[in-house]
C-alpha cells in the first residue's frame, strides 16, 4: 500500500513555533496596553479617599510666588496641613467665577498656617496666566503644571477642579466646576481642620 501513497504527504511547512509565540506575545501585549489605556480613560478623576502618596509632585512657582521662602513646592512637604489644590487656567471662563472666593478663603486661613492653597495652572500660557493672577490679586502659591504631570496624576477632566487633602495627604473632597461661594470652600476646610 505504501507505494500508492499520494506524493503530497510531505510534512506541512507551517509558521515556526518561535514565531507563533512571538506573534501571540506581541498581540497580547498590545491588547493589554490598549485595555489599560481605555480603562484609564474611563476611570475619571481621582475620587475622595484616594491616597496622594503615589503621585507626589514638585511644582515650580511663578515668578513672585513663594512657599516658605522657596520658589517651588512639593506635595509631601505639605503633610500635616490641609491642602486645597485648585486646577485653573487663564482661558477658563468659569475659573474666573471662583477666583475671588478662593483668594478670600486663603486670606482667612493663611495666618493660622494650618491650611495651604495651591494653584495649578493647567495648559496655560505664562503671560496670560500672570495677568490673570494679577487681575484677581491672587496671593497663594501658584505655578504651571509642567508637562501636565500633576493634572494627569489627578486625572482631571477639565478646569476648574479642586481637591481637598487632609493632613495625611488623603483626598477628602473633590469639587468639579467652580465654587458658588467662599462659605462653601470654608465649610470643606473646616471639616478637615476639625478632625
Amino acid at each position: 500500500m505504501t507505494e500508492n501513497m499520494p506524493e503530497n504527504t510531505a510534512p506541512k511547512r507551517g509558521v515556526p513555533l518561535w514565531a507563533q509565540i512571538t506573534i501571540w506575545t506581541v498581540l497580547v501585549a498590545l491588547l493589554v496596553v490598549v485595555f489599560m489605556g481605555l480603562q484609564r480613560a474611563q476611570e475619571g478623576n481621582v475620587q475622595a479617599g484616594a491616597e496622594t502618596g503615589e503621585f507626589d509632585f514638585t511644582m515650580p512657582l511663578f515668578e513672585g510666588y513663594h512657599y516658605e521662602n522657596v520658589d517651588e513646592v512639593s506635595l509631601t512637604s505639605l503633610r500635616g496641613k490641609v491642602v486645597v489644590l485648585n486646577f485653573w487656567a487663564s482661558w477658563c471662563v468659569t475659573c474666573k467665577d471662583e477666583a475671588v472666593e478662593l483668594e478670600e478663603a486663603w486670606r482667612y486661613y493663611q495666618p493660622g498656617g494650618e491650611v495651604v492653597f495651591l494653584g495649578v495652572d493647567y495648559v496655560d500660557t505664562e503671560p496670560e496666566a500672570l495677568e490673570y493672577l494679577e487681575t484677581y490679586d491672587i496671593t497663594y502659591p501658584n505655578g504651571p503644571d509642567m508637562g501636565t504631570k500633576i493634572s494627569q496624576a489627578f486625572r482631571i477632566q477639565g478646569v476648574p477642579e479642586t481637591y481637598f487633602l487632609d493632613r495625611e495627604g488623603v483626598v477628602r473632597h473633590v469639587q468639579l466646576g467652580p465654587f458658588r461661594s467662599t462659605e462653601q470652600i470654608m465649610a470643606e476646610i473646616d471639616k478637615l481642620l476639625a478632625e
Binding site: 500508492n4 506581541v26 496655560d124 503671560p127 508637562g147 501636565t148
Partner: protein
C-alpha cells in the same frame, strides 16, 4: 493719467497697511506661526491641530508661538518649550525615543506579519487546489491499484467457494 495715480496710491496704501500689520504682530506672519502650530496639538481640544483650533487656549498658544519667534527662538526650540511645558503629547509626531518608538515600529510590524500570514495562507490554498486537481486528473495510478485490489479480492472469494 489720473487713473494711474489713483491706482498707485491704492497700491502704496495697501503696502503700508500690510507692513504695519506685520509690524504690529512683532514682524511675524500668520503663515510662520501656523507652520509651527500645525505641528502641535492642544491637550484641551484633542484631535484638532493648533493652527485651526479656535478655542481661547489655542489662540493663546499661537500668540505664544508668535512671541517666541519674535524673540528669536528656532522652530525646534519652540517645540521643545511646548513639550517641556505641556508634555510630549502636544506633538503631532511623537518623539522617536522611549515608549513612543512603539508608534513607529508596531504598526509596520503588524502589517508585515499580516502580509506574511496572508501570503503563506494563499500559497497553501493554491497548493491544496493543485494537489486536488492532480489527484482527480490522474486516475491511472489509483485505478490500477483498485483493479489490482479487486482482482485479489475476487481471487480470494473464488478460493473460499
Amino acid at each position: 493719467m489720473k487713473k494711474t495715480y489713483i491706482f498707485l496710491l491704492i497700491i502704496i496704501f495697501l503696502s503700508l497697511f500690510a507692513v504695519s500689520t506685520v509690524a504690529a504682530q512683532g514682524g511675524v506672519t500668520d503663515d510662520r506661526v501656523n507652520e509651527i502650530a500645525s505641528q502641535l496639538f492642544c491637550p484641551v481640544c484633542e484631535n484638532t491641530p493648533l493652527d485651526v483650533c479656535e478655542t481661547q487656549a489655542c489662540k493663546q498658544w499661537r500668540e505664544l508661538i508668535r512671541l517666541k519667534i519674535s524673540e528669536g527662538s528656532t522652530e525646534a526650540e519652540i517645540k521643545q518649550y511646548f513639550v517641556d511645558n505641556y508634555g510630549a503629547r502636544v506633538l503631532s509626531e511623537p518623539p522617536r525615543e522611549g515608549f513612543s518608538l512603539l508608534v513607529y515600529f508596531v504598526p509596520p510590524l503588524i502589517i508585515l506579519i499580516g502580509a506574511v500570514i496572508l501570503f503563506r495562507a494563499l500559497r497553501r490554498w493554491k497548493t491544496e487546489d493543485e494537489d486536488a486537481v492532480e489527484m482527480g486528473a490522474g486516475p491511472t495510478s489509483t485505478s490500477d491499484a483498485d483493479d489490482d485490489y479487486i482482482a485479489r479480492l475476487e481471487e480470494e472469494m473464488l478460493k473460499r467457494d
